[in-house]
């Protein structure tokens, strides 16, 4: 019985290890290829073990091209500003909805909920943002459309406020003379830190990874975020050379390591997430789990 059980455990662990390798190996190929000598790549292709190690691709990316640094700048700016705005808007909408005594809250809840069931589609949306609001090729194009509020997170946050903030606490604060803004800031938010952290992470991730707004609304390389840059470079690695913000040094142009640089630039794209993930892993898992519980 015990022997049998131990065998079971071994088999189950082996299955999980295989699945984990399935998830991780593509990244090994990516990193390994990015530090392989260009000539070796041309001869043997991308491989898991570098035939000859070389950091030329990174030297080129960081040394003679400003595009990557600029891309990081745009991405960080958009992520910070966007996530902040999203969090403010979401909290301010979710909190009143969580108040059982607020007249008309069901109407508002329905308006929010309906937007999750039906949408006008991308065509009217694109025409509106570009023709009425003229956000094409502005930094707002990366911040405002679609990402600045997510109905799902509003409902999730409302449910969380309902469950974790006792009505009696709010009532007591009001009797003490606190106004609604004070109640929100001093009582509700401090005890809701876990949900705020979770929403911040999920929204931050969607801003960091967003490329669709860039695809629709940005065609000036001045506003290329790291994802847009990646998208452009996979199709046309020469973009780094021709881009007005790309290279500074003429002498290096001829030696663009075009095969390896593709992988190096992708590594640069995932690196920040991989670095912070271990520290926030707990919150990501929590976010997914909370999100799964319906609003």
């Amino acid at each position: 019985m015990v022997e049998h059980d131990r065998l079971n455990q071994v088999i189950l662990n082996i299955i999980m290890i295989i699945l984990c390798l399935f998830c991780v190996l593509p990244f090994v190929l990516l990193v390994s290829s990015s530090i392989t000598d260009e000539a070796a790549l041309v001869k043997y292709g991308y491989s898991f073990i570098p035939k000859k190690v070389s950091f030329e691709a990174y030297r080129y990316l960081l040394g003679s091209s400003t595009a990557i640094v600029r891309g990081y700048g745009i991405t960080i700016l958009v992520t910070v500003v966007g996530t902040f705005l999203n969090l403010v808007i979401t909290t301010l909408l979710a909190y009143p909805l969580s108040r059982h005594d607020l007249p008309g809250r069901n109407v508002v809840a329905f308006i929010i909920f309906f937007s999750m069931l039906f949408n006008g589609g991308i065509v009217p949306s694109y025409i509106m943002w570009s023709q009425i609001f003229h956000i094409k090729n502005t930094i707002w194009a990366l911040i405002v459309p679609n990402l600045m509020m997510n109905a799902f997170y509003v409902i999730m946050m409302r449910t969380n406020f309902n469950a974790n903030v006792p009505d009696a606490l709010i009532e007591a604060a009001r009797i003490d003379g606190a106004d609604e803004w004070t109640i929100l800031a001093k009582i509700v938010l401090p005890i809701s830190k876990p949900i705020l952290a979770t929403v911040t992470l999920m929204v931050g991730l969607s801003y960091w990874n967003d490329w669709i707004n860039g695809l629709y609304y940005i065609n000036k390389d001045k506003y290329f975020s790291i994802q847009i840059l990646l998208n452009r470079m996979l199709q046309d690695v020469q973009f780094l050379k021709t881009s007005s913000i790309g290279s500074q040094s003429g002498s290096l142009l001829a030696t663009l390591p075009s095969v390896g640089i593709k992988m190096a630039v992708a590594v640069m794209g995932v690196l920040p997430i991989m670095v912070i993930y271990p520290f926030f892993q707990k919150y990501f898992i929590k976010g997914i789990t909370i999100g799964a519980v319906k609003g």
Partner: protein, 312 residues
């Protein structure tokens, strides 16, 4: 307490009392109005011949012309077929894999190993689909790809031009989809498994149930409700596809369109690359309306099966 009762009785002070709460909701509602509700009104574009110079409202009406063009073309059939078939395969395989992983995670006793597995299988979910397109390119590139160079050449075969051979793509796209999403769904199912009352397992152990029997009679039934909800949610979205998966992973390659074109990629190409707003908006409205009907249908089915699992 008395004070608040008195408060509630007076209409004017009642409004004054709630005013700050209404003010708080303004930014969110304005955003929702612009981002979601104006485009809903914009579905009229599907019945117009849009002329940017005149503006949407002044562009001439064309009735159902755009839909006639769309549905008499071969595209309407291809994009509908692809969108639905891929989704069905994704739903079935994705659910089986994720539920299996959740159960395996629950059975594994090494706490630390369990943590590591959860952390690793979630990585693909965190990565942008753009980076995934680089990863698949590293494997599939005709000249430099790992598969052509390290596997096919080593075995003495002829290199395959992956980005021009439609036959492989249903498998490739399914594999990429599973790779990117199974960890996320496994975590959701695993959370449900962890929530199952432990006393059931203890009672079963006392009764001498085997491990497999416990999975079959306790874990699996415990997961049923989550499986139903997530599956029907997915069925409700069967008319929508992950644009990035179908556009970026095949690198927008023309020869593959027959097996990679979905409603979402079609709408994008019509709008941004072929400047065919009529067809594009007709396809978009077709998606919105059928999608809406499907969500309502899916929900009413859940309501019938088990009321608690319904969404609304």
């Amino acid at each position: 307490m008395n004070k608040s009762v008195k408060h509630r009785s007076a209409g004017h002070s009642r409004f004054k009392r709630y005013l700050p709460l209404y003010l708080m909701m303004i930014p969110g509602l304005v955003y929702l109005g612009i981002n979601n509700y104006i485009p809903m009104a914009g579905i009229i574009i599907a019945f117009k011949k849009v002329n940017y110079a005149k503006g949407v409202l002044k562009s001439p009406w064309v009735g159902f012309k755009n839909f006639e063009f769309l549905f008499t073309s071969k595209d309407a059939w291809v994009i509908t077929r692809n969108t639905i078939l891929y989704n069905l395969v994704f739903i079935v395989l994705g659910t089986v894999l994720s539920v299996a992983v959740a159960i395996i995670l629950n059975e594994i006793r090494l706490k630390r190993a369990k943590k590591v597995y959860q952390t690793l299988i979630l990585i693909p979910f965190l990565i942008s689909i753009i980076v995934v397109s680089y990863l698949s390119y590293a494997f599939l590139s005709t000249d430099n790809g790992f598969i052509n160079n390290s596997i096919i050449k080593a075995a003495g075969g002829e290199p395959v031009n992956w980005y021009a051979e439609p036959a492989y793509w249903p498998f490739i796209l399914t594999l990429v989809f599973l790779w990117k999403s199974f960890g996320y769904n496994s975590i959701i199912y695993y959370a449900t498994v962890v929530g199952i009352d432990q006393s059931y397992y203890e009672a079963a152990a006392i009764d001498g149930a085997t491990r497999w029997e416990r999975v079959k009679y306790i874990t699996f039934p415990g997961l049923k409700s989550t499986i139903i909800t997530l599956t029907l949610l997915a069925v409700g979205r069967i008319f929508y596809s992950d644009f990035g998966l179908f556009y970026l992973i095949p690198m927008n390659s023309g020869p593959l369109f027959d097996v990679t074109n979905t409603i979402d990629t079609y709408v994008y190409r019509g709008l941004m690359q072929m400047n065919n707003i009529g067809m594009s908006s007709a396809a978009g409205l077709y998606q919105s309306i059928v999608g809406f009907i499907l969500v309502l249908t899916a929900n009413s089915i859940v309501t019938k099966l088990s009321k608690d699992d319904a969404l609304f």
